[in-house]
């Protein structure tokens, strides 16, 4: 039911334009930023606008007028008559149903829109390849409240039309991981129910905090809060999603010796046993012979202006190198490196100095001290080489790689190596191997992207290079990066620039003052600083404007 709420204002100083218009409303009319209004326009058409700001004015010409109205500063004075006031809202034109973009006229009637009209005005009607990305509320807190699911065209999120998702927001309050998981849940649901055999998807997720993502195949227990449980499930059902947690999940934790006091995961030993018994968990290792090419990932954050580290790595991975060929284990390699670092080892004709070898040795030794750098993986003991396991990823599978307990340099190593493996997989480098049949789309989710693609990372970082490869070429190859970070402004522009979908969660005002947010109207920027948990502003090419959406609580098990 359309309700008349105001009239368009057009004055000499504040004209209506093709893009914007203002309208007045009664001062108690409840409206919010992002609400859609409908304006009567030429030829019986209607122009729809998105509210960007609402102001309240009175006939007081200055602050002084109000001060004087309190008997010159008596705070207890109550006025006998309310000062005449009104609200006026500024709205951005989003659409005209007859494609008439002549400015709306003065005094034109402004109505609330119906659910169908909102869908239409936002470009959400009859979306191809619909993928639910949340729900939005219009006229919140009023009897006219509208709640509708928001669908985006999955081809604009997963390729080939557009790919990659960037989620930004401060930790804890923005729920970045939960939102990425919600989207992946929606994608898995869609592909599981799809009969299209040509299009398939698989997920590789990095668990970077505690046990957060280490039980995504188990349902959320909501701490026994049945009301919350029922509501969340109802929200999922309303959006057309199943109420099950993730399916086809496999977990990979870094290998550590049973005798070692140090543990490599936050997962409980009981859970590990349980997962192993149900055959969904493997302990991953890096084997020198197969993984030596990834040694460069250990140097991702090391400055290498003279490229001496790069020279050493090239030497190590060179199968014809007289020093490093035929080495079988990390220990062999370390021994050789130690030898090269000896005083006086650099004979004539050596182009790498002993000092460089010593620098390499320091980083390398520290890196391979971890148990996961081993001689071989024993499948009988539920061990695997991560690269091998990822090569055989199957459609709809979700691989969770636990790097939460690894030190930062090793996290980078695992991430960089995985990115490279998956990129090569999609490039077809392993096509000849047994069991390699990658799905047409691979989604990689990594939190804390700032660790690998921040503006402070050395330009030559192999991980950054890999991320750029994925964001720039991944769309056509079928590798999609879902990345999250606290501060978007800190991320290399080439990475964010290649993302088709952007989700802005709650952030702070220092962040919104950066140029990354300069295209947003002031009200939206302020709104970003007070978004509720579970609220996001979404930007996607198919939406006619930025949308404020809400997504439900996670459906998979949560750890406190």
């Amino acid at each position: 039911m359309n309700r008349l709420i105001g009239r368009v204002l057009a004055t000499e100083k504040n004209p209506t334009t093709m893009d914007k218009f203002s309208f007045w409303t009664e001062q108690n009319e409840k409206l919010n930023a992002f609400d859609i209004v409908k304006v009567k326009h030429l030829d019986g058409s209607f122009t729809f606008g998105v509210i960007e700001n609402i102001s309240h004015i009175t006939d007081a010409t200055s602050f002084l007028t109000n001060f004087i109205s309190s008997d010159f500063g008596d705070v207890s004075v109550e006025e006998q008559t309310f000062r005449v006031g009104m609200n006026y809202a500024e709205a951005k034109v989003s659409f005209n149903d007859c494609y008439l973009y002549t400015p709306v006229h003065n005094n034109a009637e402004v109505y609330l829109a119906t659910k169908e009209e909102v869908t239409f005005a936002l470009g959400l009607k009859d979306v191809d390849n619909p993928l639910v990305c949340g729900s939005l509320k219009m006229y919140e807190g009023t009897p006219d409240e509208i709640n509708l699911p928001v669908h985006l065209n999955s081809k604009f999120l997963l390729g080939p039309e557009g790919a990659h998702l960037n989620i930004s927001g401060i930790s804890g309050l923005a729920s970045k991981t939960s939102y990425a998981m919600f989207l992946m849940k929606a994608i898995q649901d869609q592909y599981l129910s799809s009969s299209n055999t040509d299009d398939s998807v698989a997920f590789v997720i990095f668990n970077v905090k505690g046990r957060d993502l280490m039980a995504i195949h188990k349902p959320n227990e909501f701490d026994g809060n049945t009301k919350l449980h029922d509501k969340t499930l109802a929200d999922y059902a309303e959006m057309g999603l199943t109420t099950d947690p993730f399916k086809k999940v496999r977990y990979f934790i870094p290998f550590s010796e049973a005798t070692s006091a140090k543990r490599s995961t936050y997962l409980d030993p009981d859970d590990i046993d349980d997962y192993i018994n149900t055959d969904i968990l493997r302990k991953f290792k890096y084997v020198y012979e197969d993984d030596k090419e990834s040694i460069e990932m250990m140097f991702a954050n090391t400055d290498d202006p003279q490229q001496t580290m790069e020279s050493i790595i090239s030497k190590i991975i060179d199968d014809d190198d007289p020093d490093f060929r035929n080495l079988a284990t990390w220990a062999d390699c370390m021994e050789k490196v130690a030898e090269k670092s000896q005083k006086g080892s650099g004979g004539k004709g050596e182009d790498i100095s002993v000092l460089s070898w010593r620098k390499f040795k320091r980083v390398f030794r520290k890196a391979i001290q971890d148990d996961m750098f081993a001689n071989r993986a024993d499948s009988q003991k539920h061990e695997c080489r991560l690269g091998d396991a990822l090569k055989t990823i199957k459609p709809n599978e979700v691989c969770v790689i636990d790097i939460a307990k690894l030190p930062e340099d090793k996290q980078a190593f695992v991430f960089g190596d995985t990115m490279r493996t998956l990129y090569n997989l999609k490039l077809g480098e392993y096509d000849g191997e047994d069991g390699v049949a990658p799905p047409s789309r691979l989604i990689i989710f990594i939190d804390e992207l700032n660790k690998y693609a921040s503006k402070d990372i050395p330009k030559g970082s192999p991980i950054l290079r890999q991320i750029l490869e994925v964001t720039e070429r991944g769309r056509s190859l079928g590798i999609v990066l879902f990345a999250a970070e606290q501060f978007r402004s800190n991320i290399v522009d080439r990475v964010t620039g290649n993302c088709s979908t952007h989700a802005y969660g709650r952030t702070n005002s220092i962040e919104t003052a950066t140029k990354d947010y300069s295209s947003l109207p002031g009200t939206y920027k302020n709104m970003l600083t007070r978004l509720e948990q579970g609220d996001y502003l979404i930007q996607n090419p198919i939406f006619r404007s930025l949308l404020k959406i809400h997504f439900p609580r996670p459906i998979y098990k949560q750890f406190k």
């Binding site: 109205s69 010159f72 005449v84």
Partner: protein, 396 residues
């Protein structure tokens, strides 16, 4: 009829009166001078007889406590009325006289708007609004001088014209044609025409008050505050009809007039000599004793209670008279006429007026210190409905 349809206002007037339009310069008369009729106060026959309230008060009355007590309670003033007019000289017209002479007279036109706003829960709403366009012509414009209904009929013809068709949808119409005396006097014709329009405005105000009374809107808890003086001159017809006259007076039982401007020279408060200093020294939130006055020549036997209230501290205003309002109330019952107004009612009305001092219209009206905000809003409401000077003059 077709000829009328496609004619401008002055052409129709020319045709109907047989005069000749000189198409002279059109301009607004509002800026050049204020109201030429100093009705009421300037009258020489004004009489300040005695005290106008029941108690014998000779000093200022403090209302600080009372106004504080009733603050936040039930409102007393519910309706606010304001009438105004804009007057223009729209043409000069020549009328043939004996001996082949032609006498030229100005044609004065005006827009009159009367508005009444209602206050509910501290918010203002429009209760009634009326507007009209009137033209004042010399009496000799009507050649026969006797034809009944000539002026109204001519007004009807003006309404049928093309010019008015454009604005009639928003409520504008020619109500009547007023005539001013063409006899040579001291006063200028422009002033005479303007006075006619002013009188018409006051008549319309009275009609609106009468309507509110007949709709039983006014009572002892819902007073009407009228902007300006209540010194309406009763018409001759009214004076001759005792019943009508009493009815007219009864209409003002719950009406007070609050004036922002008054002539300090005639501020006679108890005594027969002017004593403007007595008012100038009025302390804040105090009132003067009530004076009773009549003006037999101008107002007939209507008696008024008049007093002054200071609503703002003198330290905060420009002149000693800023922040003082003059309140008038027509004495209706014989008891009131004999003994004056009940002093308690005077105090109550005064305390309520004091509480009306906030909010103020500082910054948008020079007279902010004397303005009561609901009146100000009513005034703004009425003025917002006027045609702009350009649009109005273009009609002629």
């Amino acid at each position: 009829m077709n000829a009328i349809k496609h004619s401008r206002i002055m052409e129709i007037l020319e045709r109907e009166t047989g005069g000749h339009s000189y198409k002279s310069h059109k301009y607004s008369l509002d800026d050049s001078e204020r109201s030429p009729v100093e009705y009421g106060e300037a009258s020489k026959s004004i009489q300040w007889k005695r005290r106008g309230e029941t108690k014998d008060i000779r000093a200022y009355v403090s209302l600080v406590e009372l106004s504080h007590q009733i603050r936040g309670g039930e409102q007393l003033f519910t309706y606010f009325l304001d009438g105004s007019r804009h007057v223009y000289k729209v043409d000069d017209m020549g009328f043939e006289k004996s001996g082949n002479r032609t006498a030229i007279y100005p044609i004065i036109a005006g827009q009159i708007g009367i508005g009444c706003c209602r206050r509910e829960n501290k918010r203002m709403y429009c209760e009634k609004f009326e507007r009209e366009i009137v033209v004042a012509m010399p009496d000799i414009a009507q050649s026969s001088g006797k034809k009944q209904g000539f002026l109204t009929a001519t007004a009807q013809k003006l309404n049928a014209g093309t010019e008015l068709a454009r604005i009639s949808s928003s409520g504008w119409k020619f109500s009547t044609i007023l005539s001013y005396k063409s006899a040579k006097e001291e006063r200028e014709y422009n002033d005479k025409g303007t006075a006619q329009i002013q009188n018409r405005m006051m008549e319309n105000e009275q009609k609106m008050v009468a309507n509110l009374v007949s709709e039983k809107k006014l009572n002892d808890t819902n007073f009407l505050v009228k902007d300006g003086s209540l010194e309406y001159r009763p018409s001759k017809a009214m004076r001759n009809n005792e019943r009508e006259y009493q009815k007219f007076k009864n209409n003002y039982d719950y009406v007070i007039g609050v004036s922002k401007k008054f002539n300090p020279e005639v501020c006679l408060v108890l005594g027969d000599k002017p004593n403007p200093g007595f008012i100038a020294k009025l302390p804040p939130y105090h009132r003067t004793p009530v004076a009773y006055f009549t003006d037999p020549d101008f107002l007939g036997d209507i008696g008024f209670a008049v007093w002054y209230i200071r609503v703002r501290d003198q330290a905060r205003t420009r002149t000693p008279f800023d922040g003082i309002v003059k309140v008038e109330k027509i004495l209706v019952t014989s008891g009131e006429v004999a003994n004056g107004m009940d002093s308690d009612l005077v105090d109550l009305i005064s305390a309520h007026i004091i509480n009306e001092r906030n909010p103020v219209c500082y910054g948008s009206d020079m007279r902010w210190a004397n303005h009561l905000y609901p009146i100000y809003l009513t005034e703004r409401y009425v003025k917002s409905h006027y045609l702009s000077t350009e649009s109005f003059l273009h009609l002629f």
